[in-house]
Symmetry: C2
Subunit: 635 residues, 2 copies
């Protein structure tokens, strides 16, 4: 047996090991630390090292991309030493960054060249009007209208508050006023006068995504197309219920509808205030607002009673609300700003999905694409640029941490990723913000469920194997559970666990989403394995670990490079529609073209749901990569 | 000399009189009463009797129409007895009625056959919608829109408050809701949804004439075309100034504009309340409002600063304000009711004139027509259906009683008609309401000025002949004056007089109006004597005595049958426009076609004004009938 010299950087430690030793073993022998949360199974990717030179054979390249391999990356637990070598142990931070970079796959560029003259729906111009005289004594309004007609705007709506200022502004500006116009699409000379001023006007817009959990805002310079800043805040309605159904119930009681409307407006005002502090743009200077959100959120924002959304036949008051002005809605931006809610498709496929489909590039997509927005609900679109079907799978908020004893939203103190040691079942986890944990967020739950399954702590049905020799698996207050963090290690001094009841909730949620995929595919006669790209939107989607989501059967088992995580596609689509009338028109076309499949009316959905209530699925042949891992683990 | 037997009815008194005696003398001899306020000059027409049979020769048929003569009417002071006769002395009331009837010359019928289906701009219908199902799951708004499109309304604006009720109303009505729509003209499928209800809707409209002095309202059933009721009330702004200029000045100070807006709204609310009490129609059930008024009144109603109206070049903020909704204006009718201010032409020729021209029938008029609205200002239109010129003559409010020491508005206690005895200069007068007088209103002032001139109490220049032997003519506090009522006979216990200063004010007012006529005629190259009809609008116009108005040179000297008194043409035109989109379109065409002549920019006006500062005019050949009376009187 030959001995080889392994030099470990940056510690500059040298150690002798025999042929066949793992790099991970060498590091351990040298008294150095490397994270191996999965217990050296090549699952977690946390023990990545860089082999700078030498003879190292990779037992498996799992978790490594071609780019990683080119850069010399290897997993210490899978790298076999066969000669002298120099190995760099990167700082943990660098590993974290690599793992994150790996996921932010796709750039979010505008799908069009931004040309304000051609596309802009809100424009600011300075007019030059002839002053009135005894010979040319027309009224101020007619004079302004003539000036506007000369610029191609021959039918301009002028609201009373602006008409009341017209005389003063025309004279102050010495008959050269600035006008800010919103073109009415399709543009044929019709527009709304949003503002009239003796001072220079600059068109600024706001894109709003009103999520059940989070409200996101982008502040946009409509002349340059530049996003000036963005902000996000929890939806102030959360106290009235975590999911849309509980909000609808709340809205139906007493002045609940008014209360919810006021709360979301407060949230928006907070965002506007934050944007003002960061950019100096006052809310009053925002001249156009494009709003997306799920259908219930749009109803609550507009003050439309949402009751019928939750009652069969699940019919909302309006999928395509008319355009309103900010003062009608008490929005706190320029009172004459047009407020446009982009069109939704159905009670459970709202404008967040149509705008998301735009941002995901569906209108120009030739490949068979699955687009999923993982928010409080799971909405799915399957299609190409030529056809689209959609559904909503009532997954419920389990993946947002609700309905799970120690669940929480993805915020400070949430466990967001978990590795369980194959042999000891001891966990390692990463906490958002880095301190002691308070609970587990969605990505942490997916991660933990997957780890418990892959390490054999739970079976295909999600039941704990109570005969395993681990203090982590125990009979708790709520039945069997796995203790992820002991009280001593948590912020609140209580154990953080995942119970059998929690697992059942998560199983139902993932089964609903997967059943949605299946039913959509069946409805148009394609196989899920034919899907060429899976686009995952929603803030939550950004943090999902594909491998683990596939392992529990939440996402279909496709090669990893077909998955793209797009972040908040809803607010991005709203921003594009705000900037460009062409993009806005594309959203309308998406809504026109998208066929909605009502799952509650579909027996096939119930069958698919039942079949998916298993880890990863009753039909294991649908998940070949999981079968392989599981068999390797079992062997 | 023969004696004849004259039988006087209804007293059944018989008396003998010689040939050549007047009926008036016979009545006096018999010890009976008959009014002869003009002193038997055949001027006042108050001594009318009916010659039932017998030989009576009429010395003059002045003041009697052909119909009067057919009915046997004669003036007692002009009827010469030439044989036995039976004469009926009618009750004074009957005479009054005859005099009034004589003036209300022209019927005010709609100039079109009212056909709701073809003309109505506001319609109510009940829709029958298919209920939603899992198979037909479109949203409520789309369902309603489909139902509306089936009725020909394929572009319907729906306001937020209605959208908020849509779900409830559709379900309450079992998918058969009533809709109330305002068609947008020219109608091509575009409309506004004004109301949506599970109950039957009935379209009701309100026509409003906002005068400087009086606000008039007509409540109209838009389905039947019936005027349900009308009401009028002093404009609550009067306390802030009697004429438009003082209102404009008031509006420019502090919150004056808001105060004036609030006052006229209060007046409108009072009218609505009165109409509600009389008809049971609640203000909330009024679905459309058409408003006319002079340009300043429209500005104050809409809250537009009117300042530029009184400053050269006299340019208003808007002659053609856009359509608004009642809630934008705080009008107290149905919040979604459309409020349409009909188009005006210039700062001093407003929508009251364009609507008045409609009501006066100008759009179909082949004859050369002079239309004058005698309100607080005097606005004049000259033309035919093919062309129109207009001007405003800044006559000031003298004829409304302002700027005259004992002037007052035409209300309880105002002297409205005066006769002065040719020999004694003693007056007789009629008081509105019949009690003791408090002052003199416009028609009384015209009447008095005319009587003073015809009886020779004042000369052509309006100066008192102080050498006449009458206690009525005296040197008063404010210079020479004529005492119309002694303190003992008045309500307030003070003398009621007309001073030289008052006369100068009235002369300026009448000269301004006549100069307006002259300049308009000259501007289009016609003579005033070519005018085939003179249409007098305005509530005040109703009470003018043509003969006396001609005698002072206020109206041109034309045969009496060319004069027609139309009452409030402004509110009538507004009512037609409310009922019929065709009539509304005609008002727009009138405004398009009407050429405005700005008198303040015209030296010809100043010359014509100076020439008219004389009784009746410096060029007496313009007033042949006056010359004749005056010469007869002087002889």
């Amino acid at each position: 047996m030959n001995a080889h010299t392994v030099k470990l950087l940056p510690a500059q430690v040298t150690i002798e090991v025999p042929t066949g030793a793992l790099v991970a073993e060498a590091i351990q022998l040298a008294g150095l630390q490397i994270a191996q949360p999965c217990g050296g199974q090549g699952r977690c990717g946390r023990c990545a090292v860089i082999v700078e030179q030498g003879a190292v054979r990779l037992r498996s390249t799992i978790r490594l991309s071609a780019a990683d391999l080119d850069a010399g990356y290897a997993l210490a637990c899978q790298a076999v030493i066969e000669g002298d070598a120099t190995v760099l142990i990167p700082e943990q931070e660098r590993i974290e960054r690599r793992l994150v970079t790996e996921k932010s796959a796709r750039g979010m560029e505008l799908p069009f060249a931004y040309d304000p003259a051609a596309l802009q729906s809100v424009v600011a111009q300075q007019l030059k009007l002839p002053p009135p005289s005894l010979q040319d004594g027309g009224d101020d309004l007619a004079r302004l209208q003539r000036g506007l007609a000369d610029r191609g705007y021959d039918q301009v709506d002028i609201a009373l508050p602006i008409l009341r200022r017209i005389g003063e502004v025309l004279r102050q500006s010495e008959w050269s006023p600035w006008v800010l116009l919103e073109r009415l699409e399709p543009f044929n000379g019709a527009a709304r006068l949003v503002d009239l001023s003796a001072e220079t006007l600059r068109p600024i817009g706001l894109a709003l995504d009103i999520g059940t959990t989070t409200v996101s805002a982008y502040l946009v310079d409509l002349a340059s197309g530049e996003v000036l800043n963005s902000a996000a805040e929890y939806n102030g309605q959360i106290a009235a219920g975590e999911d849309v159904i509980s909000r609808i119930v709340f809205a139906g009681k007493g002045d609940g509808l008014q209360v919810l409307g006021a709360r979301v407006r407060e949230t928006i005002h907070e965002l506007l205030d934050r944007l003002r502090k960061r950019t100096g743009v006052a809310p009053q200077d925002i001249h156009k607002v494009v709003v997306v959100g799920n259908t219930t959120m749009i109803h609550l924002f507009l003050g439309l009673p949402p009751e019928s959304i939750r009652l069969t036949p699940y019919v909302p008051a309006a999928n395509r609300p008319p355009r309103f002005t900010a003062d009608e809605l008490g929005l706190g931006v320029h009172p004459q700003a047009g407020v446009e809610c982009l069109p939704g498709v159905a009670s459970y496929v709202g404008a967040d999905i149509t705008a998301g489909a735009l941002a995901a590039g569906l209108p120009s997509c030739e490949q068979l694409t699955l687009f999923i927005d993982v928010g409080t609900n799971g909405e799915i679109v399957l299609g190409t640029r030529d056809w689209m079907v959609s559904c909503a799978c009532s997954a419920g908020p389990a993946f947002e941490g609700a309905g799970v004893v120690d669940g929480m939203r993805a915020t400070q103190g949430a466990i967001e990723e978990v590795w369980v040691h194959s042999a000891t079942l001891e966990p390692t986890y990463r906490v958002i913000g880095g301190g002691k944990p308070r609970g587990i967020c969605g990505s942490g739950l997916i991660s933990l469920l997957s780890e418990l399954f892959v390490t054999g702590a739970i079976d295909h049905g999600g039941s704990f194997k109570l005969d395993l020799d681990s203090p982590r698996i125990r009979q708790g207050e709520h039945g069997p559970e796995y203790v992820l963090a002991w009280a001593a290690d948590t912020e609140h001094g209580r154990d953080i666990s995942l119970t059998k009841v929690d697992i059942d909730n998560l199983m139902r949620a993932k089964a609903a989403i997967y059943a949605g995929f299946s039913v959509l595919a069946t409805s148009v006669g394609v196989e899920l394995s034919d899907v060429q790209q899976v686009l995952v939107g929603g803030a939550f989607g950004k943090y999902i670990n594909v491998e683990k989501a596939v392992q529990i059967g939440l996402l279909p088992d496709l090669p990893w490079d077909r998955f793209h995580f797009l972040g908040n596609t809803a607010v991005l689509g709203a921003t594009w529609a705000l900037l460009s009338s062409q993009a806005r028109q594309q959203v309308v076309e998406i809504a026109d073209r998208m066929t909605y499949v009502e799952l509650s009316a579909d027996n096939a959905f119930y069958d698919a749901f039942t079949a998916a209530l298993f880890l990863p699925h009753t039909e294991i042949e649908r998940f070949p990569s999981v079968a392989e891992v599981w068999e390797r683990q079992a062997s």
